[in-house]
């Protein structure tokens, strides 16, 4: 479970996030929805402990991220918006490296790597070096290494961005599976259909603030629109372009 309270962050003089509070519960998929530059990535970066908020509180399974980042990070699996690979390492070696850094033993690392190679359909390129990988292959490797320690909380920053249908489907299946395993999934997107298809809860962010936090059905009801896209446009349009 991920809880944030009053997260604030200024990037230089410009406010990027201005007071974000929400809860992403276990066994549910929470979508962070917002236009480009709304503060989704900045919020996620604060949650996974690489950016220090100017104010606010973040708890992951009850562990405070600010006070105890290492313990909190070991409970999270993160796919950042830029997830580069090492061109001279094979897909399998990527998973091994991150597994060991997560404190898994040698045998355990091997076993988990096998598991993820099957799960993400990576068998055909598992032992090839990453230099020539397609975007879909790279994203799968990045996902596998992020989830190798089977974390309770999974944070994905626009995971399906730029992927083809097959890869997108693999990732959606994975997200649903994680939910079935009672994990907490938090992912950001600006693709409406994806959020509508997957999410149990939608947190709409616009201009660094939360414009809505509800189920997709409630979202339609509140805005009085018939499609999620119209609801989104209505919500984002209402939000102040900038706040003080």
């Amino acid at each position: 479970m991920i809880r944030t309270e009053g997260l604030r962050k200024n990037c230089g003089e410009v406010p990027a996030v201005g007071g974000i509070s929400f809860t992403a519960p276990d066994g549910a998929i929470t979508g962070l929805l917002g236009p480009n530059g709304a503060g989704k990535t900045t919020s996620l970066r604060m949650i996974y402990g690489l950016m220090k908020p100017d104010a606010g509180r973040i708890e992951v399974d009850g562990v405070a991220v600010l006070e105890n980042p290492q313990a909190a990070q070991s409970r999270m699996g993160v796919l950042p918006d830029v997830a580069g690979l090492y061109p001279r390492l094979t897909a399998r070696e990527h998973i091994h490296y991150f597994g060991r850094l997560q404190g898994l033993s040698g045998d355990e690392v091997e076993r988990r790597a096998e598991h993820w190679i099957d799960m993400l359909d990576m068998r055909s390129f598992a032992d090839r070096r990453a230099a020539g990988f397609s975007h879909g292959e790279r994203t799968r490797v990045a996902l596998a290494r992020a989830l190798v320690h089977e974390p309770q909380n999974v944070l994905l920053d626009e995971p399906t961005n730029g992927l083809d249908v097959m890869s997108t489907r693999t990732i959606r299946d994975l997200i649903r599976r994680l939910k079935e395993e009672k994990r907490c999934v938090l992912f950001s997107s600006h693709v409406m259909q994806e959020v509508a298809a997957l999410c149990d809860r939608i947190v709409v962010i616009a201009g660094g603030r939360i414009a809505a936090d509800s189920t997709p059905e409630e979202l339609l009801a509140v805005t009085g629109k018939t499609t999620l896209e119209d609801a989104f446009v209505a919500l984002v349009g209402q939000a102040p372009a900038h706040f003080v």
Partner: protein, 391 residues
């Protein structure tokens, strides 16, 4: 600090680095600079030394001074040949290095015990023949002095009267010390090899990591910044250690194959001295990569980092050049100063003196402390959002 994390990072960077052809190449080139240059240097010296002892003197008008020609030919390593028709042109066009011309009136003047004229045609701007020319001059001066003494004795006068000064050169520097002057460059090349070998891994694991965007996922794992930086530094240190050891071994092999004894150098450089030298220079294997990792971490891209590395390569050369050409000597105050201390100890070792354990430890401690300081600075860099996200 979790040592397992450090080892995991170090192992990954090493296996990643040694799959990189550029990394292998820079280790190899770094290790080969020293043996190649030392080999060329000593070979040149050997050739010059040998050839200056053996001179061939072109003489014009040898029939006028058979005594002198005969005396010259009796000297060790001297042969005389017929001089060229146009001596000045022959010297100018470098057909010969010099020509000795004996004047027509030599026999007459010689007989009358008056100064007999000879001429040496030579080009003083030429470096190559200088040693030979010097030898010829010395021989002619000796002939002049010896004959002069005989004339005085024949007249019942002590030859000492004509000699106001009795000059004698006393060579103070031992052959070992003269060899050390050349050997002084050797430690610098070894440190250079370490810098070259550490460079690629230091840049690829920091600036490369930033450029690829693999730093962010890495920092989300429970590995601490200090462990991460220590692992990357350790990988660069291993590479630098491989480089310096290779360089030492190859250079030793090449130097041993050159007959340095022929040059008048008594080289007593044992395997033990080699180990002591390696131990004295080893702190540079720690410090070099620490500095490289720090500066490379500022760079957003591999290319940018490499331009910093190009400048850092100059660092080991500055004091090296100074001690080689302006002998700073070995002052005690140098020992605790990183780099200067290592070179000063190395100079001692190269000239056959084994430094005390205390001075070795003192130099190692200060250089290692500086290396750790740079590692700590780099760790602080990796906590900055500008470094993590600034791409």
């Amino acid at each position: 600090m979790n040592l397992r994390h450090v080892l995991t990072v170090c192992r990954k960077e090493l296996s990643d680095g040694f799959r990189d052809r550029r990394a292998l190449l820079s280790v190899l080139i770094g290790a080969l600079i020293s043996p190649l240059l030392m080999g060329v240097l000593f070979n040149r010296l050997a050739v010059e030394q040998r050839s200056s002892r053996e001179i061939s003197v072109p003489i014009i008008g040898r029939q006028y001074a058979p005594i002198l020609v005969e005396w010259l030919e009796q000297q060790n390593g001297v042969e005389t040949v017929e001089g060229p028709a146009d001596p000045e042109d022959a010297v100018r066009t470098r057909k010969v290095e010099f020509v000795l011309i004996i004047a027509k009136d030599f026999p007459e003047k010689f007989r009358e015990s008056r100064p007999a004229p000879i001429q040496i045609v030579a080009d003083s701007t030429r470096q190559s023949g200088r040693a030979k020319l010097q030898r010829l001059r010395t021989l002619l001066t000796r002939f002049s002095a010896e004959t002069g003494s005989l004339r005085l004795i024949a007249r019942g006068i002590s030859p000492g009267i004509a000699s106001v000064l009795r000059m004698e050169d006393i060579e103070v520097s031992s052959a070992q010390q003269r060899a050390a002057l050349i050997f002084n460059i050797f430690p610098m090349f070894l440190v250079l090899a370490a810098f070259m070998a550490g460079m690629q891994i230091a840049t690829d694991s920091t600036a490369g990591e930033r450029e690829r965007g693999s730093l962010e996922p890495l920092l989300v794992t429970p590995v601490r910044r200090g462990e991460l930086v220590a692992g990357k530094w350790a990988a660069a240190v291993v590479s630098a250690a491989v480089g310096i050891t290779m360089s030492l071994f190859i250079t030793s092999g090449i130097t041993l194959s050159i007959p340095l004894e022929d040059l008048g150098f008594r080289v007593r450089f044992s395997a033990f001295d080699g180990l002591v030298l390696l131990a004295a220079l080893f702190p540079m294997v720690l410090l070099g990569p620490a500095i490289q990792v720090y500066f490379a971490s500022f760079a957003k891209s591999f290319k940018e980092a490499q331009s910093y590395m190009g400048l850092l390569i100059l660092v080991p050369m500055l004091p090296g050049i100074m001690t080689a050409f302006v002998p700073l000597g070995n002052r005690p105050w140098m020992v605790p100063i990183p780099l200067l201390g290592q070179y000063s100890l190395a100079t001692d070792i190269m000239s056959g003196r084994t430094p005390s354990v205390f001075s070795l430890l003192l130099a190692a401690t200060s250089a290692t402390a500086l290396a750790l300081f740079f590692v700590a600075l780099t760790t602080r860099l990796f906590s900055k959002e500008k470094i993590i996200f600034g791409r």
